[in-house]
Structures are given as C-alpha cells and as structure tokens.
C-alpha cells in the first residue's frame, strides 16, 4: 500500500512535536524513521497507526484520505516498543486475538484460526511456544511474537516502534535479518522507528532523518551517507 503524509503537524499543548511534515512512502518499501529522542519520529508513526491525532494535515492510503479512519479501520499491524503483549494470555491467544476480535460474520472458524496461528509461529521460527506465556519468553522471542500478532490481522501495512530497542546487541543483529525476511515474503509496506543509524542504514530501502519535529533528509542509505543534506544529518551520522 502506498502511504502519503501531507503536511502533518502535531502540537501537545504549547509545544510542537511535529512541524508540518510531508512524506511519500512507495508501496512495498521498508522505511526507517531515524532520529534522536524527541525528534517526533514516534509521534509520526502513531499518527499513521491512528493512535494519535494530527493537529492539522492529512494521511492518504493508496490515494484515499485516511485521516478520519479509526484505529480499527486502518488495519495497521503495529509492533509496540514494549511489545505490549497481553500478559495473561498464552502466545497462541495473543496471536489469535485480532482474529477472534472480528465481528462474528468475518471471524474465521476456530480450526482456521489455529491453522493461521501455527503458520505464523512457523514464520517467526518459534513453532513450539504457543502454550507459553509472555513472561516465559526471552526478549527476542517476545519481539517476534509481537510481530506475528501484528501480522495475524492481515494488515495493510506494518508499523514498528523501536522494534529492536529493548534487545541486546547480538539478538538485535539476528532479528534485523528476520524482519527483512518477513518484509520480503509478505511484501507489506513497513515503517519502523529507530535511533540507531546502523540499523536504519542496513535494513531500510528508504531512510527519513528527523530532528526537532522536522524532516531533515529523505533518501536511500547510500545517498544519505554520501551526501548529508544538512549540518544536523552530518553530525548525527558521525556520532
């Protein structure tokens, strides 16, 4: 799905989290929103998911105005920074949640739900953990379960907030490859937020560098490295 952000701004009281920003995300791309904390990248991601409302501007999905769509209507697979797994449910129940929450007419039969959950567990290469609870998983396993849960609703796009933020360096590297793989198999337009330039450069097709609620530069990783557009980008990359 093609996503277009048209002059989106966001104010929290008297502070502006986003000055009007515009951005076009081509269908099927894997995009990184890169910037230090407070740059507005998470706010932009949450606006895309419908978890935050812009003060002004529009969001377009495949050319249609989606600004007024509710979270549920957007069908965006969202992976939270803390993963936000339901701690009182098993991994299976977590992944099945979105399917079971559908209105009766659109809800798959129990056997179909089980089939899809099993398939997703295979996709994240954790076929045997369906009966476990989130508290019994490692950080990396939790992240993959959160990804599977988001994929279960057959999302139109994938939004990930610091998907590797809570993991140690070794697991981080492993899972980067995993995300790239899942993106390539599903072909979903995916946007992830990160403050780690290596992560953005290695993983994304397109990197959006942000600072203080503004977009500093949009480009391919190699182009940004070769030709930083502003002083900020230059200093941020050399840090």
């Amino acid at each position: 799905m093609h996503i277009e952000i048209d002059e989106i701004s966001k104010e929290f009281g008297s502070t502006a989290a986003l000055h009007p920003v515009s951005l076009a995300i081509p269908s099927g791309a894997l995009v990184a929103l890169l910037g230090p904390s407070g740059s507005g990248k998470t706010t932009l991601l949450r606006i895309l998911g419908g978890l935050e409302f812009p003060t002004s501007g529009r969001v377009l999905f495949d050319g249609e105005d989606a600004t007024a769509l509710t979270v549920q209507q957007r069908r965006a697979g969202f992976v939270f920074q803390s993963y936000a797994l339901f701690r009182h449910m098993t991994v299976f129940e977590n992944i099945a949640y979105g399917l079971r929450a559908r209105p009766r007419a659109q809800r798959p039969a129990a056997a179909e739900i089980a089939r899809r959950v099993t398939k997703l567990l295979d996709l994240i290469q954790l076929p045997d953990i369906g009966a476990r609870y989130p508290s019994q998983l490692s950080g990396g396993q939790r992240q993959r379960v959160a990804l599977a849960r988001a994929l279960a609703i057959e999302p139109r796009m994938l939004l990930l907030d610091e998907p590797f933020g809570a993991l140690d360096a070794r697991v981080r590297k492993e899972l980067r490859a995993g995300l790239r793989e899942i993106h390539d198999t599903t072909g979903l337009t995916s946007v992830f937020v990160t403050h780690d330039q290596d992560e953005a450069m290695e993983l994304a097709d397109l990197v959006v560098v942000m600072s203080m609620g503004r977009i500093e530069q949009i480009g391919r990783p190699a182009d940004i490295r070769a030709r930083p557009a502003t002083e900020f980008v230059k200093s941020f990359l050399s840090a």
């Binding site: 104010e11 009281g13 008297s14 419908g50 509710t70």
Partner: protein
C-alpha cells in the same frame, strides 16, 4: 503561550461513557450533598451561623475534638514509624500476623470497636480495673476518647511509611556508616528525613479520620457537655432537636478547620519534597 487543550483526543473508546458515569455519580453522591450543606449555610447567613457556633459548649467540643485528634495523630505518628520499621526490617516469629493485624481498625466496624474498648477500659473491665487500682479512670474521660482515636487512626502512618522503608537502599545507610556516623545519627539524619513526607501523609490521614470519628468514641466518651462531648456528637444532638441551622453551623466549622489543617500539612509536605525530592 497557548493553553493545554481541555481534552486531548484519544483513539481509545469509552471516554464519554466513563466521564459521564464518573461525573454523574460524583455529583449525586458527594458534590450535591456537600453543596446542600454550604447552601444551607449561605441561606442562614454568617451572623446566624456565628450565633449558633458561638456558645461555650460548641467551642468546647470543637476544641476537644481537634486537640485530642492532634494528640492521637502524633502518638500514631511515633508508633506508626516504629511499626513500619520493625515490620519491614526485623524478622521475628509472628511478624506476618502482626503486619496483617495493623489493618484491623480499617476492617472492624467503629461501633464494634467502640463497645469493645468501653468493655475493656470501663472501671469494671479487664484493663479499666488495673487502671482503677492506680487511681486512673480511662473510660468516660478524655483518656477514653484519646484511646478510641488512636485506635481508628493506627494503620495510616504504618501503611504509608512501610513501602518507603522497603525502598531505602541499604547502601545509603552503609555509606553513612563508612563516613563515621553512629547508627543513631544515621537513623536521625539519613533515614528519618527520607521517611518524613510519607509519614506526614499518614499523619494527615490519621488526623482527618480522628477529627470526624463518631462510632468508636461515643460509647467510651461518657458525653458530658464541656468535658467529653465531641463535635460530631453535637451535630447529632442538634439534628435530634431539629435545629438544622445549628447542625449546619457545626458541620461547616468542622469542614473549614479540617481543610485548613490539611492545607497546612500539604504545604509542609511540598516543602519537604522540594528539599529531598520524591521518595
């Protein structure tokens, strides 16, 4: 600078419903009745209220209520700190039972506590008889009232201070020791200041509870005008005489004095927090 918006839009549903239930019930159960009291006071007018309150009997009962409540809250402050420390830091048989028992005054109905304390501390009761042999009378005197007020306010300080004691890092105390401080000095200059804000909160809650207490006090008080008559009892008496203006006057006086005291305590708390931060 623009104002923060009144309400930030949220994607989570249920804001209207939860706000509606909350505000409707709050208004109906709490705000409307308190408003009625203030309205009654306003219609009667300040001079009428003053005439009602300005009698030796009512001043006496108000002074008695607040004086004894203050003493009870101070005693509870000392013993509450002691209990919190002992229950968190020391290990001894029966500790968990003691810990659970601290909440008894929250769970035991005040009328039950009232008749039990009276039976115990009346001159023919188990403890009352011992006191009598020393020539001291407890029930039906101000001592009895004080006892009941200590009882109802007992859990507050312990329960507010306990979690703070748990979170004190031992390293802070050890650091104090390595700097040459004696144990007592460490407790006084390092530990106690950390507990102060929580202890103050507990003290305020204990005080507020004692000032308004009725059920546990009236049985043991003896209720002699000018001697052992508490302010809430006078409200009941005025109501039984259908003197609504009189009851209103005492009610408003109690509210005002309580709020003034809470305000002072809050200010003290803010000051101590400003000094050492939240603990």
């Amino acid at each position: 600078m623009t104002m923060r918006p009144l309400i930030n839009r949220s994607p989570l549903p249920g804001m209207g419903l939860s706000a509606g239930i909350t505000l409707t019930m709050l208004s109906l159960v709490v705000l409307l009745p308190i408003g009625a009291l203030l309205l009654k006071g306003a219609t009667a007018g300040l001079p009428a209220l003053w005439t009602e309150v300005n009698t030796p009997r009512i001043w006496g009962s108000l002074a008695l209520s607040f004086r004894l409540s203050l003493i009870a809250a101070l005693i509870n402050l000392v013993f509450g700190l002691l209990l919190a420390w002992v229950l968190v830091r020391y290990r001894f048989p029966g500790r968990k039972l003691l810990d659970a028992a601290v909440d008894l005054p929250f769970a035991l109905p005040t009328a039950v506590a009232g008749i039990a304390l009276t039976a115990l501390y009346a001159p023919n009761g188990a403890f009352g008889a011992i006191a009598k042999s020393f020539g001291v009378k407890i029930a039906y005197t101000q001592w009895g009232i004080l006892l009941a007020l200590i009882f109802v306010g007992l859990p507050f300080v312990t329960r507010t201070v306990q979690p703070v004691v748990e979170e004190i890092e031992r390293e802070v105390e050890e650091a104090s020791a390595t700097l040459g401080a004696s144990r007592f000095y460490t407790l006084r200059r390092v530990v106690l200041p950390m507990l102060a804000p929580a202890a103050m909160t507990g003290f305020a809650l204990s005080l507020a509870r004692a000032v308004g207490e009725y059920g546990s006090v009236i049985f043991i008080a003896g209720n002699i005008p000018l001697k052992t008559e508490i302010a809430p009892l006078l409200i009941v008496i005025k109501l039984e005489e259908f003197n609504y203006t009189g009851a209103t006057a005492i009610g408003i006086a109690m509210l005002l004095i309580s709020f003034a005291m809470l305000l002072v305590i809050n200010a003290l708390q803010v000051l101590s927090r400003r000094r050492i931060g939240y603990v």
